[in-house]
Subunit: 141 residues, 2 copies
DNA sequence: GTGTTATATTTAGCTTGCTAAATATATGTC
DNA sequence: GACATATATTTAGCAAGCTAAATATAACAC
C-alpha cells in the first residue's frame, strides 16, 4: 500500500499476531485443543459454573461464537453444560476432570510460546513495548 | 494464565490485533469487501494476471484459502479467472473494472485505520516499536 | 392473567483459516 | 509411448469469527 514506518507497524502487528496464532495453534493440537479454546478454559479454571454471556464478555466475542466453542469443547469431553435452576434461559458451564487436567500443560505451552516471542528482547524493552501496546489498545477502543 | 509483563505483551498483541481486525473489517464492509481480501487485491493492483500459487506466497496462506477468497471475489465481480494457455493447470487472476476502482478507497481506509492505531504515538516511538515488532517477527520464524 | 419487552441461547449462512485427500495436467524416465 | 512423479487447483470437512433472525424464558405493566 505504501512503505513508511507506520505501515510497517500495522503490517508487522498483523504478521506477528497471525504467526503467533499459527504457532500456538499447532502447539495446542497436541493437547487436542483448538486455539482460543484455551482462553475459554482459562476463564473456567478461575472458577466454573459461569454462563455463556459471561464467557462472551471475557472472550470479547459474540454469543454464536461461544455456542460453537462450547459445543466443540463439550463434544471433546472437557466441559459440560447444565441449565440454571432459577433461570431456564441460562446455561452454566462446568469443567470435567479432563478439562481440569489441562490447566498445567496449557500453562506450559503458553509460557513456551511467550519465551519464543520475546527471547531476544530485554526486560527494559519489554516494559516499553508493553506501554506502547497498551496505548495502541486504548487508541482502538 | 499469569500476570507478569511478558504475559501482558502476548495478550496485548492478541487484543490489539484482533480489535484492529474487527475494526478494519467493519470499515471494509462499506466497500463490500471482507478483511483479507484487500491484501489480495493489493497484490493485483501491483500487477494482475498472476497465479493462485503466487497469491498463496504473497498472502502467506494455503491454497484452499486462496481458492475460497478468489471464489468470493469473483462472485462479487472484483476479479475474474482465466486458465493459462501454456499450462492448463494454472489459473491466472485478473482485476475487473470494479476491482480496479477499489484501490483508492481501500488505501484511504487503510490510512484511516493506521492513524487510529498510532495517533498518540510519536515518530521516535514508532521507530522503536517497529524495531521491536521486527525482532518479534524474527523470533517466531 | 394477558401482552409487551428484555435477556440468553441457538440456528443459518457467510468468510478466513487450516488439513487431508481428490483431480487434472506436466514433466521426466525407461 | 507408458508409467511414475511433481505441480496447481479443488473439494470436503473442521474451527473461529461475524450478522441476522429464530426460539425460549423472564420480567414488567396493565
Amino acid at each position: 500500500m505504501n512503505d513508511n514506518v507506520d505501515c510497517d507497524i500495522r503490517q508487522s502487528l498483523d504478521k506477528v499476531s497471525s504467526q503467533m496464532r499459527r504457532d500456538y495453534s499447532e502447539s495446542l493440537r497436541e493437547l487436542k485443543l483448538y486455539v482460543g479454546q484455551d482462553n475459554l478454559l482459562a476463564r473456567l479454571w478461575q472458577g466454573d459454573g459461569i454462563t455463556q454471556m459471561q464467557l462472551c464478555e471475557h472472550l470479547k466475542c459474540e454469543p454464536p461464537t461461544v455456542t460453537n466453542m462450547v459445543k466443540s469443547l463439550e463434544q471433546n469431553g472437557f466441559i459440560y453444560r447444565k441449565r440454571d435452576e432459577k433461570d431456564a434461559r441460562v446455561m452454566r458451564i462446568y469443567l470435567t476432570d479432563e478439562g481440569k487436567k489441562l490447566e498445567d500443560p496449557v500453562d506450559f505451552k503458553w509460557k513456551q510460546q511467550q519465551e519464543k516471542l520475546l527471547h531476544s528482547i530485554s526486560p527494559e524493552e519489554r516494559l516499553i513495548l508493553r506501554d506502547l501496546m497498551k496505548r495502541m489498545e486504548k487508541n482502538l477502543s
